[in-house]
Structure formats: C-alpha cells, structure tokens
C-alpha cells in the first residue's frame, strides 16, 4: 500500500528542519506556510497568484464548505481542486475549531457536535465519521482528525477530559478514514493545553494510532507568545521526528520564526489575508497600517526588501488611496503583498536552516521586525 505522503528532511539546524513533503498533487517545501482558503478561495487572490507567491499548499475550511456550497455539491462538481482551480495540495481542517467558535451548538456529546449554521440556522452534525466523510468528499490531500477544543483558561480537568475525548475521536477518525490508494493523508492533532504531561499523553496516544503527520492543536488561542513558546519548547519533540509537525492557526511572523526554531514544519493563519483586507501590511520593519496619513504621499513600496509584484509596481501612496477609498484593488494588492511576505519568510527560513545559520537569521529578523514587542498591531 503506497503511502499518501513522504517526508524527506534535507537539513537540520538545532531543532529546526527543512525538507520536502511529497504528495500526489505536488511537493511541499518545509517549513511551509499555508494560506487560508476558507470558502474555496484565498480571499481576494487568484489561485495562480497564490502559487506565484510561493505557496505549495493551501488550507480549506470544512465548516464553511460543508455549509456552503456543501461537500456533496463540491464532490458532484469534481472536488475542491477542480472547483476552485487550484491543482496543488489542499489541507482541510476537521471543522472542529470553527464549529465551536462560529456556530450555535445545540449538543455536544461523545458522539459529536450538533449545531445550527451561522448562515441560515439549519441543523448539522459533526462527528469524527462525518468530518472524515466531508473531507473525503472535498478531495482533501491532507485531512485532519476531528478533535474537541476547550478554552486555554479551562481547568486541568476540563483540558484533560477534552484531550482524552480527542484521542478517542482520533481513533474514530483513523478508523473512518479511507486507506485506499489515492486517498489523502491524515494528520492527528495533539491536545493538552499548556500542560506538558497531558501533551505527552496525547502524543503517545496519537503515535500509537499512527498518522501521516501530527499537528499541535489548542495553541494561538489567546495564551500569548511566551506561553506558546514554552509549550513549543517541548511539544514538537514529543511527536515523531520523521513526520511533519503542523502548528495550527499560527501566526504572526515572529510566532512562525520562533516555532520553526522549535521544530515546527507547517503553519496556517488568516493574518496575511485578513490583515490585507483591513489595510495592514507586513514588512521587514514590522506591520504598518497603510491608512495612516504618513503614507499619503510616500512614493516608496510597502517594503523595500520585498520582491513581490505589488512592491515592484505600486507606491504606498497609491495603496493608501485605494484602501482609504474602499477600492477592491486595495484589498487585492495588500493581500497579495502579505502572502508574498509570509511565503518569502518561509523561503528565507528554509535557506537559513539549509545553511545552518537559522539562529543568526532569526535574531536579525526579530531585531528589525521588533520581535520583542507584544503590543504590535499584528
């Protein structure tokens, strides 16, 4: 039985690794950043421009797609890749995180989660089995196990109970997920909050079940960078070294740099796209708000060290005008720049690891970006 995913590690620098995930639909260079394509679109970008920015893989949201246009419709239309015109790998989340943050829950039990759609109030059920079915209907290349989340502020007992249920659901996800040739990969998700012992137990349970890759879940939900890094000092090492490690929902550029130093291989986050639509640009000198009056006659690019088409063509003054005027092109260009910034950062991190100079690169990046700031806009 062929593996749906092969992971070749090319170089190691400290705890960091750079490598390639080989899949049927293409190769993913790691450390990798996955732009979020919530509703079958990376918002405000054409797929070809997402690829040109350097993205090898994007993320699709099971929760959004199951509600509209529905997984069954996407399947009838030939799957998510064909539907949206993106031929490279797609990772889908399980829906677990968003159903708990966006929907009105009507019941939550060992079986799964019943909820009302935030769009039209229609009733739906998500369970490990249904989540696997949806992700298979979408044609996902990397599916995620269905897990249960609790706030990081929950007590240890609640965190432990959710982790243990998530491990039972991980087994049900594994059992429900097809293993036929052509099926995609399945990743398990480590839970356990900020508790090292719970994280250890979760990692052991997942490893015993066996997955193609392992995610670190339950972080980047308000605990702050310091607490997240403390967890990441330990969590990646609890997971199998020969499989990709994916930190879900992270994050700010300095979060990513620090997580790569701690051994993480994959990331996703809405920050570059969402910030682009609200006028915030990421630059090597830190984030900036293009609406600020100081940019009104600035003929320079968003970031003088950015190789993206936006920085090569348009001035801050023009982007300031577009965003102030509420023009769609403003959202388009700011998003494109931000995705390039993130993907260029990943390329720089890969090169630094390959050259065994990650610490120097990371320190220089943080010093210029303002890495110690905690109150930065993004």
């Amino acid at each position: 039985m062929p593996q749906p995913l092969a992971f070749a590690i090319h170089a190691v620098d400290g705890k960091a690794r750079t490598g390639t995930i080989i899949m049927r639909r293409g190769a993913i260079r790691t450390p990798a950043f996955m732009p979020v394509g919530t509703a079958a679109t990376v918002k405000a970008m054409k797929p070809a421009d997402v690829a040109a920015a350097g993205a090898d893989i994007i993320l699709g949201n099971t929760y959004h797609l199951m509600l509209r246009p529905t997984a069954e419709r996407v399947a009838r239309l030939g799957g998510l890749h064909r539907f949206m015109g993106w031929e490279r790998p797609i990772l889908t989340d399980s829906g677990g995180y968003q159903v708990m943050s966006l929907a009105e829950l009507t019941s939550r039990s060992e079986e799964g989660v019943a909820f009302k759609s935030h769009l039209d109030g229609a009733r739906h059920l998500l369970s490990p089995e249904r989540s696997m079915e949806i992700q298979r209907l979408l044609g996902s290349d990397i599916a995620m196990a269905f897990d249960e989340l609790v706030p990081t502020t929950s007590g240890r007992d609640a965190v432990a109970a959710a982790m243990e249920r998530s491990m039972r659901w991980a087994q049900r996800s594994r059992d429900a997920f097809g293993r036929d040739e052509g099926d995609g990969a399945l990743f398990g998700i480590q839970q356990g909050g900020l508790d090292e012992g719970l994280r250890r137990a979760s990692a052991d349970a997942l490893t015993a079940i066996g997955f193609d890759g392992y995610a670190i879940g339950g972080l980047a939900v308000g605990e702050g960078q310091e607490a997240m890094f403390a967890c990441l000092d330990v969590a990646p090492g609890q997971l199998p070294a020969d499989r990709p490690r994916y930190l879900m929902g992270v994050g700010k550029p300095t979060d990513i740099v620090g997580a790569v130093e701690r051994g993480v291989d994959m990331f996703d986050c809405v920050l570059p796209t969402r910030s682009g639509r609200t006028g915030q640009a990421f630059t090597h000198d830190g984030p900036l708000n293009i609406r600020n009056a100081r940019h009104a006659e600035d003929q320079g690019p968003l970031d003088p060290d950015c190789p993206c088409p936006v920085c090569l063509t348009w001035s801050r003054a023009y982007l300031h005008h577009l965003v102030r005027a509420g023009e769609i092109l403003g959202a388009m260009l700011m998003t494109e720049h931000n995705i390039w910034f993130y993907e260029t950062l990943m390329a720089d991190l890969r090169a630094a690891i390959a050259d065994a100079r990650l610490a120097a690169f990371a320190n220089a990046f943080r010093a210029r970006y303002g890495g110690s700031r905690t109150g930065e806009a993004a």
Copy 2:
C-alpha cells in the same frame, strides 16, 4: 507643432470605420471600448489584466480624482499613469457630468459650477479653466472640454441654452488647454439633446474652434435605445469625418453595435465593471445573473464562446458560489470576464468592418444576444 493625436482610418463599411489612434503612450484600435477607472483603478482589476483583455485606453474621472486623492497630489506623485501603474493612454472626463449627478450644487453660472463634495462636504469649483488644469495635473492623454448638461426631458429652450453655454465653455476649454509639445489631446463635446438642429449648430461651433476629436454628449441618460439611435443616425455625420468620434457613457453591448454601425469610434461605460460586482455577466446569449439557482451546479463556463481566463478556468457553479458568498474573488472574476466580453466584441467589430461584413456580424450578434429586448437586465 506636432499633433498629440493622429487618426488613421484603415477601412470603412457603411458609416462604420476601423482605424488606429496613434498617441505618445500607445496606439488605440478603433472602434475602442474604454474601461472606466473611476478612482485611479478599474474596479477589482489589476492594470495588466485590463490590458490583457484588450483595452488600449482607460478612462479616469476628474470629479472623483479631484476630490480624492486630489489632482495636485496625483501630480506630485508623478501623474495618474505612474500612480496607478497603467502606462497606456488615459482619457479623462471633464467632471461636468458627475458633478451634476453626484455633488450638491451650490451655484451654477456662466463662470462654472460650485459644489460640495459628496465625500466630506468640502466646497469646490469646476469651470472650463479649472477642469483643464485638473486634467493636465492628472497627466491625461485625452482631455475633455468642460460642458453643461441638462436632463433630456428639458424643454428645447433649456437644451439650447445649455448647448450654447457648452460651446462658450468649449472655447474657454480650448483657450485654457496647453498646446505645448507633450500635452495631450483635447476633445470637444457636441450637445443639443435629441434636436437635430441644435446638434448641427453644436457640431459647427466645435469644428470652428477645432479639436483633436469630437464626443457626442448628452445621450444614454434615459432616452432609450430607439431615441439614441435616431440621434446617432445624424449626429456622427455632423462631426469631422477625419477625427475620432466618441459616444460618452455608452453602453449595453447592443448599444455599442448599433452606434458603431452609425459611425462611432470610441465608447466608455461602467456597465461591465459595475455589473460584474453585482453578479451580472455579459454573454453572447445575453446577460445572465450568476446568483440564479440554475447556475449552482452548472459546470460550464459563463460563455462557451469567450476566450477569457475566467471562462477557460472556472465554472458557473464556482462563480455562483463566490458571488453568493460575497467573496471578493467573485467580483474580480466577474469583472474580468465582462471586460473581456466588451473588448472581444470591439475586436470582432473591428474585424467585421475590415472585412466589409459588419451588417451580417451585427445582425447575427443581435439575434443571438436578444437585441430587440428592451427589458433586459443590462
């Protein structure tokens, strides 16, 4: 003194002509459709995609740009072309039409029009001299004379008075407009409503002043296609045959076909861009609303005979999903298709004129599009 504009007519078919307008920044193939770039952007499109669709020239709106970011700021930033990243010719309107349709007028006299901005209530003046100054600051390739408009429902005396004032303003525009080498072209605008005699007098006055091209103004303001065509049976022939004739603000595809048959060379209209943002697509089989449920699982393209990147890549089902979900990419792709549809129509018209088969082409286009329908959505 070199002419800012040369017009070579390559072929004539009935009253229709096909040719090339040669300007410093590039050639404009006629009949030409100019996408509208209101606020220094063709809404939801990158300039390179506008050019790829076949547009040789775009239109910028003096009224919008004088308010935001202001003509003076655009000039300090190197002019409109550099500001927005469009290197080909730009035609600017005079501001006259939009100041009367969008702003709150505070006075209207022989001197000009005083008004309050619809954005912030600030007071401004537009006059022939100020309009010429603004268009020069923007770096316009083709500037338009400043004219006065009255509703088509106005009585003959009001129409005559506005036309006569517009002719005095045309002379003031001509006097105020630079004639130095490197300055752009200046077009006069024929007025006179639906009255053949007033149109004749207006054409004679403009020709006596002398312009690089001539526009037909005051149409497409609610009079209906039949009345517009009745006017166009006469108006183009009243203008110099060796200069480009520009029908302002027109129009639906069948309007354009009929106007080309009557001798018009240039067009602009917000329909393809505005319709794209509201989910309406132009096709050879007439307009369609992609939000309609019948498109939800339609795997075909918007228009099977359209060569645009959107029709080559994405299905109606995907566009239906994007537009229903309010995704920016929906506005982007629908706009791009519509601009391609308009520009492809112009290319087809040019080829038909060159081959002396315009009548057959126009009749076939109308028959398929549903040309006699008057209740069509756009």
